[in-house]
Amino acid sequence: MKTNDLIDMLATGANLEQAGDPWRRLVHAIGFGTLVSTILMVKAIPVNPDLANVMQLLAFWEKLGFAAAIAAVALLMVFRLSTPGVRLGNLFPALMAPILAIWILAGIALASAEPGARASLFFGNTWKVCPFLITMLATPVFAASFWAMRDLAPTNLRLAGAAAGLFSGAVGAVVYCFHCPELTAPFIAFWYLLGILIPTAVGAVVGERLLRW
């Protein structure tokens, strides 16, 4: 086939403009994934029975803010990495901000605690399950983001996969906040972050295969 014939074919037809808003599918997919993740949390590992009281505490909002801030930056990364020729700009430093903030809070908490109390600040009661439950709650958002990104045009597949994984992990962590009884900064700074980084790593590994177009 001659290239000119291909051009004729591409330019012929009445639905050139029928592409629509590129982000609609992604936004819908993410909304749906988050909903499934929330239902999964409520059904499988119920809402914290003490939630009403816990929500009165600043520590709860620090935890939620940490996860939500990462989710917001990661979502911007997903958008930018899905459009050819758009750079990440200063999103990496922006991503480090909530992480550094929680590390500083964790450092302060550990430094000001009695030496004997430090281990319980760090391990809490649920460190064994926390990263895995966050990963589990991330799964619906992970699948939805990857599905929607296939319709877009990521050109750095590994990084795009990692960003989608990071986003899903952070959303999983936001949802997990409503179950999790832990409120100490050292716990969040390590176990939550680990739970967010597991889907990130998986995304980086599978991105190259799943996002290819």
């Binding site: 290239t3 009445a14 639905n15 459009t83 050819p84 020729g85 877009l152 045009a153 177009w213």
Partner: protein, 179 residues
């Protein structure tokens, strides 16, 4: 400035002006060819195939173009992605670092020196499911309107458009696999 002219043509095309879109694709082809020729000097026979593959990709991903974005950055990223993907398939990883180039020069040179493509996209069309194949043949090759083609195939206009859209995507996927 050709980049601005091309951007204008693309935007007109995205608003439904198929003549402007044809000129856009046609002019863009020269730049794509020149870009790929310079980077595939050891594989000249593959240049035209990759030109066509990039055109198909640009067409299928046109909804990701943001009008505020410089056209060179968008086109260059797609062409470069297809080039790297192609070379990766050939396991010529060593030469990849030659392509860490910037998009600024993308519209600097153009080439009309088309060689014969080795792969025939028309033949791939035969492998598409019947509905998608007929939707593409009627609207994109025979030039029927969506309404006419929908009547002819006994489907709704939106089903026909979906058929064209999915068919073009399937075609691009097959193109990626047949090299």
């Amino acid at each position: 400035m050709s980049a601005e002219r091309l951007q204008g043509l693309l935007i007109q095309g995205l608003e439904g002006d198929s003549q402007a879109y044809r000129v856009f694709l046609s002019d863009l082809t020269g730049y794509l060819r020149s870009y790929l020729m310079r980077r595939l000097s050891s594989l000249p026979d593959d240049v035209e195939d990759l030109v066509q593959e990039s055109l198909l990709a640009i067409h299928n991903k046109r909804h990701t173009y943001d009008r505020k974005q410089p056209l060179a950055a968008w086109v260059h990223a797609i062409a470069r992605y297809k080039l790297v993907d192609f070379l990766r398939g050939r396991a010529i990883r060593d030469s990849l670092n030659t392509f860490l180039d910037e998009e600024d020069a993308f519209f600097a040179t153009s080439s009309t020196d088309a060689t014969e493509a080795r792969r025939d996209i028309m033949k791939l069309l035969d492998q598409l499911p019947e509905k998608q194949r007929m939707a593409i043949i009627h609207t994109k090759l025979d030039g029927l309107s969506v309404e006419e083609a929908a009547q002819m195939n006994g489907m709704s206009e939106s089903a026909l458009k979906v058929g064209v859209h999915r068919g073009m995507k399937a075609l691009a996927a097959m193109v990626g696999e047949t090299r």
